[in-house]
Amino acid sequence: MNPLEQPGIAVEDQFRNWSELNVEPFDKREVHPYTRTRVILMNGIEVESIMFSHQFSRHTDNPEIKQALAMSRRSEAHQQKVVNGLNPGDQTPLETTIGYEQVAVDLTAWLARHEPDPMLKQALDFALLEDFDHLYRYANLYELIDGKHAAELTDSLTEITPGRPTAVEHRHPVDDLKGHYDTHTVDPLSRLHVMTIVAGEQQTMNFYMNHGTDWIEPIARGLYAEIALIEEQHVTHYESLLDPLDSWLKQLVFHEYNEVYLYWSMLQNEEDRRIRSIWELHLDMEIGQLQVACDLLRRYEGVEPEEILPPELPDVPVTFEPNKDYVRQVLADQVDLRTDGLDYVPVQTLPPDHRYFAYQDTVNAESVPSEEVVEQNRAAAGREYRDETEGPHPIDDLRAPATRQS
C-alpha cells in the first residue's frame, strides 16, 4: 500500500464531537492482552506526534506552517483522546503499568527480530533485557500490594522473570548516548522502528513520571521513581539513534508516515471489531495528515515526498506476538553487557574506576527499591513472583531465588 496514493480524510473534516471522543472503554477482564498493548502503543505514538508538532511550532513563525501544524495537531489530540479513552477506569495504574512493560518487551523484541541494521538491533536487544526485568519487578509489586497475579493480565503470552537486574541498569548519562543511523543509507523499515520505539519509551517514561505518586506505599513510590529514571535513560538511548540531518519538515513527514504504518499494522491484527474500526478511521485520518505534511515539504523545501519515502509501506505489519524464545536467547547472550561511551561491552571489561561504577555507587548507596520489592514479596508470599512458561531461567544465578545483582 502506498499511502501517497490513498485519498484519506481531509484534515478539516477530522474533528469529532464530545460523545465521539468519549469512547466506551474495553473490559479489562475480557480484552485480549495484545489489544491492550496496541492501545498503549498507539496512545504513545499520538502523544509523540503532538509533542513533536508543538516543538516544531515553537521554532517557526510562518503562519501557513503554524496553522497547518495546529490543524493536524488538534486532530492528533482527538485521536489521542479516543485511543487512551479505551483504557477502563477500573484498570489500576499498576495494571496499566504491567501492560506498558508487556508492550516494551514484545514490541522491542519484535522490532529487534525484524531490524535489518545490526547496530540498531543491538540497541534494541540491549534495552529489551532491561524492560523485561521491569515487568518482573512490577509483577512482584502487584502481588505484594494487590495480592494478584500479573499473568492474569499478560495471559502468559510474555514470560515474567528477571532480565538484566534493574539495580545494575543505572549508568552514567554519557554512556546512554549512541551513534545514529545515516538518513540516506538507512533502511526505511529501520527508520520506522526507531521512531516507534522512541515514542513508546517516551510514553512509558511520561506515565511513570506522573503515576509514581499514586501510591501511599513507599516501596511503590520508590520503584516507580527508580524505573522512571531507567525509562529516561532509554529515551536518551533511542533518540540518539535518529539522524539529526533531517529538516523539520522531513521529520514531520516521517512522523505522519510512521503513524500511517502503525495504524495499518494495528488494523491487520486487531480482533476486537469495535477497536478495529477505530484503527481504520485513524488510518484514513493519518493519510490526510500525511498529505498536508507532504504539501508543506514540496512547497517550502522543493522536495517531492517520493524522494524520501519508500514506494510502498513495509510488507510486514508491526505485530504483537509472543517472543519468548528470542528473549531467552538474548538474555543468555547479553545479560552481562554494559555501555562504555558508544560501545556495548561486557561488564568484566570495565575498569574499576569507570564512571559506571561511580554512578552505581551514588544511586544505589542505600536501599534499592527494585531489589527491595522482590525481597518484601518473597517475605510476604514465601516466594517471589515469576511466570516462567518455557522452563527454568536461562541464567543459572538468576534462577529463583535470584542471587546476583551484577
Partner: protein, 395 residues
C-alpha cells in the same frame, strides 16, 4: 532520472564514523574510495569526498530553486529561479556522470557532503521558518540571500573542480572533469553575478525609495509596484530609476566570458601584476590628490566665511522686508475681518427672524395634531367600552 535525494533504494553509501552508523554493505572506507578512483599521485578518497560534496550542493541547489521559484511573488525573479533551477539540475546530471566516469558511486554521501547538506538545509529553512515576521519585500530578500549564499559556494566548488582537473593525471576523469567545467562554469558565473547584482539592486532600490515605509500597511500593493521595478516598466519613479542606475553591478557583469583554463591562469597572473602596478600609481595619485584637496579646502573655508557674512546681511534685509509685508497683510486682514463680522451679524439676524417664523408654524401644527390625537383616543376608549359587549353577543 537523476537522483536528488540518495536513499537505500538508489544505492546510497556512506563512510562510518564514531557517531554515524550504516549497515555493513552500505559502508565504504577510504581504501575503497581510493581504489574506485584509482589515480596515482592523488588522494583518491578525498577526491571522492569532494565530488560527493559538490554533487550534494547541486542537489540542494535544485531543491532551493524549486522552493524559491514556487514562493516568490515576483514573476521576473521566478523566471530566473526556474531557469537556474533547470541549469542546476543539469549540473547534477553532469557531476553524476563525472563520478561514474571516475568509477565512483553517485549515491555515495561523504562526510563533507553531510556538512554541505546541513548548511544548505539550514540556509533554506532560514527562508521560511522565520518568514512570518517579514514583509513581502524582506521575504524576497531573504530568499535571494539564500540563493546568493548557495551560488557563492557553488562558484567556489567549480573553481576547485577546475583546479582539480588541472592537477589530475591524463585520463578519463581529467577529460570528463574538464568538459564538465567547460560546460558549467560560465553558467555558474552568471548565477553568482545575477544574484549579486539583483541583491545590490534590490538593496539600493529600498534605500532610495520611500515606498518601503508603506510596505507593512500595503504589502500587496508594494509587491505590485516592485514587480514593475523589475519588469523595466516605464512607470518607474524617477528617484527609483536613478537609484537603479547608481546601484553597483556585480563582478560578473564587468567580467568578460572565460576562454580556456590555461590561458586564464596566465592572464590572471598578468592581471594581478597590472593590478599591483595600478595600485601603486593609484596610491601616489591619491597622495597628491589629498594635498591638493587640503589646499582647496583651506581656500574654500575662507571663501565660505566671506560668503556666509554676505549671506547673513542679505538674509537680514530679506527678513525686514518680509516683516513689513507681514504687518501690512495683518492690517488688511483686520479690515476684511471687520467686514466679515458685519455680514455675519446681518446673516444671524435674518436667521433669528426665520427661526421665529418657523416656531410659530410648528406651534400651530402641534395644536392641530394634539386635537386630532385627543379625538383618536376618545374613539379608542369608546371602542374598548363596546368590545366586551360585542364579545358577549358573539358568545
Amino acid at each position: 532520472m537523476d537522483t536528488l535525494t540518495p536513499t537505500k533504494d538508489t544505492g546510497a553509501a556512506t563512510k562510518a564514523s564514531a557517531v554515524v552508523y550504516a549497515e555493513p554493505d552500505r559502508v565504504v572506507t577510504d581504501q575503497d574510495l581510493a581504489a574506485q578512483i584509482g589515480l596515482d599521485g592523488v588522494n583518491g578518497a578525498f577526491v571522492a569526498d569532494l565530488l560527493s560534496a559538490c554533487l550534494t550542493h547541486e542537489r540542494c541547489g535544485t531543491h532551493l530553486y524549486r522552493s524559491v521559484a514556487g514562493r516568490t511573488a515576483n514573476p521576473i525573479l521566478r523566471a530566473r529561479y526556474e531557469e537556474f533551477g533547470r541549469e542546476t539540475m543539469r549540473h547534477v546530471e553532469i557531476l553524476e556522470q563525472v563520478i561514474v566516469t571516475a568509477g565512483g558511486n553517485p549515491s555515495y554521501v561523504s562526510p563533507l557532503a553531510r556538512a554541505t547538506e546541513t548548511a544548505d538545509t539550514k540556509a533554506l529553512e532560514a527562508t521560511f521558518l522565520g518568514s512570518g515576521a517579514l514583509d513581502p519585500m524582506t521575504a524576497e530578500m531573504a530568499m535571494l540571500d539564500a540563493v546568493l549564499l548557495a551560488e557563492t559556494v557553488d562558484h567556489a566548488n567549480w573553481e576547485a573542480l577546475e583546479l582539480l582537473a588541472e592537477r589530475l593525471p591524463n585520463g578519463l576523469l581529467r577529460d570528463a572533469l574538464r568538459d564538465a567545467v567547460a560546460e558549467v562554469q560560465e553558467q555558474e558565473d552568471e548565477h553568482l553575478g545575477w544574484a549579486r547584482d539583483m541583491r545590490a539592486r534590490m538593496t539600493m532600490l529600498q534605500v532610495s525609495s520611500s515606498l518601503l515605509t508603506q510596505a507593512q500597511a500595503k504589502g500587496e500593493e508594494l509587491v505590485a509596484q516592485v514587480r514593475g521595478w523589475f519588469s523595466g516598466d516605464s512607470s518607474l519613479d524617477e528617484p527609483i530609476r536613478r537609484a537603479a542606475e547608481q546601484a553597483p553591478r556585480g563582478r560578473s557583469a564587468k567580467r568578460p566570458a572565460k576562454k580556456k583554463a590555461t590561458s586564464k591562469r596566465s592572464a590572471a597572473k598578468k592581471a594581478t601584476k597590472k593590478k599591483a602596478t595600478k595600485k601603486k600609481a593609484a596610491a601616489k595619485k591619491a597622495v597628491t590628490k589629498k594635498k591638493a584637496a587640503a589646499k582647496k579646502a583651506s581656500a574654500t573655508k575662507k571663501a565660505s566665511t566671506t560668503k556666509r557674512a554676505t549671506k547673513k546681511a542679505a538674509s537680514k534685509k530679506k527678513a525686514s522686508a518680509t516683516k513689513k509685508k507681514a504687518t501690512s497683510k495683518r492690517s488688511t486682514a483686520k479690515k476684511s475681518a471687520k467686514k466679515a463680522s458685519a455680514t455675519k451679524k446681518k446673516a444671524a439676524a435674518k436667521k433669528a427672524s426665520a427661526k421665529k417664523a418657523s416656531t410659530s408654524r410648528k406651534k400651530a401644527a402641534a395644536k392641530k395634531t394634539g386635537a386630532s390625537r385627543k379625538k383618536a383616543a376618545s374613539k379608542r376608549s369608546a371602542a374598548k367600552k363596546k368590545a366586551p359587549a360585542k364579545r358577549a353577543a358573539k358568545r
